[in-house]
């Protein structure tokens, strides 16, 4: 028996770049470009159905001081 697809047409996941994905790419680039002198970090938080992705610059030489570059907040899209 063939299982019926109840999901409908879904977009190709490979075409989807979430905000956290974009930020992680930039975090990684920062680390590479500065040879680890500065490191990029992304924190993902969620509370009450709201997500927050924050891109930090981490400075190991300053005892891991963290500076927030930007934060993106978005709800779960229904």
């Amino acid at each position: 028996m063939v299982t019926k697809n109840l999901w409908g047409e879904l977009p190709d996941a490979a075409d989807i770049r979430s905000p956290v994905t974009i930020l992680r790419e930039q975090a990684s680039l920062l680390t590479q470009m500065t040879n680890g002198t500065l490191q990029g970090e992304v924190y993902l938080e969620n509370s009450g159905g709201r997500f927050s992705s924050t891109l930090y610059i981490l400075a190991p030489a300053l005892d891991d001081y963290r500076y927030s570059v930007l934060s993106v907040q978005y709800p779960v899209v229904s």
Binding site: G48, R50, Y56, D63, Y65, R66, Y67, S68, Q73
Partner: protein, 274 residues
């Protein structure tokens, strides 16, 4: 004794008032929110004819401004995230302290859910900083844009800031299997006209059905581990700077000449444990 002054100056040119307050109250750590004041003239004014000098520590926050009357390496940056600036205060003698300054989002730009979310985020940042430094000798001061009784201030995932030191000294409580740590909030004792000092720190007369008129958005929160060093007697909401009242003739913050917020002054008696 370390004396702290916090003031949201609402982008007003209040250098003279700031200098008067710092000199009158022997302030050691000055924290400003909504300040456009250039640092150099302020430092020059603060340090004129003074025995000890203010310095500007490393600070990347564009929302909170620090000046300290200590060597700058006593105040190390831990984290800057929007309206949250966390610093590690490390005197050579006495206990080190975690100092967080906040300027959380205003009700003008968000609803209660937004403020709860931001309070939860800020509280989590403080917890992470405490884990990094290995202690909970923490004080948070700033413009929370919430009153002491609002959910972001009292909720477990927010600051869980209580009005009774005896409750705060229980350290934490468990809700649905998870432990949450307390802060003590002395601002509860500063609500209303029968309290010491002005009835609040910010006055706003709205046209809505619920109108508190006086709000206490500017607050200081203390972890129980620091309570023995917090001087309740010296804690003040200030309404005078030098000879100048910060209130108008009707007893409200004179926002035409001064800030629409009143400053907070408090002490941490670091030398008490020496």
């Amino acid at each position: 004794m370390a004396t702290f002054l916090f003031w949201n100056i609402n982008k007003k040119p209040l250098q003279d008032h700031i200098v008067a307050l710092c000199h009158e109250h022997d302030v050691d750590i000055l924290i400003l929110a909504e300040s456009d004041l250039p640092a150099v003239p302020l430092l020059q004014a603060l340090n004129t004819e003074q025995r000890s000098t203010f310095r500007q520590p490393f600070n990347l926050s564009d929302r909170l401004f620090f000046l300290i009357r200590y060597p700058t390496d006593w105040l190390k940056p831990v984290r800057d995230d929007g309206g949250v600036a966390i610093r590690h205060f490390i005197p050579p003698i006495g206990p080190d302290i975690l100092l967080a300054a906040v300027h959380l989002p205003s009700k003008l730009y968000g609803n209660e859910s937004d403020q709860i979310f931001e309070a939860n985020r800020a509280a989590q940042m403080v917890t992470e900083a405490e884990e990094r430094v290995g202690h909970t000798r923490t004080v948070i001061v700033g413009d929370f844009n919430m009153n002491p009784f609002e959910p972001g201030m009292v909720g477990t995932r927010g600051f869980q800031a209580v009005m009774d030191q005896r409750i705060a000294r229980r350290i934490n409580r468990t809700v649905l299997g998870k432990e949450y740590s307390f802060f003590y909030n002395p601002m509860w004792s500063r609500l209303g006209d029968l309290s010491k000092g002005p009835p609040g720190t910010y006055y706003y007369n709205s046209s809505t059905h619920v109108n508190f008129f006086w709000n206490t958005f500017d607050q200081v929160l203390i972890r129980p581990d620091l309570l023995d060093l917090f001087s309740a007697d010296r804690f003040q909401v200030l309404d005078v700077a030098g000879q100048q009242s910060l209130l108008s003739s009707n007893g409200l913050p004179d926002s035409s000449l001064n800030s629409d917020h009143l400053p907070l002054l408090f002490n941490i008696e670091i030398e008490r444990v020496i």
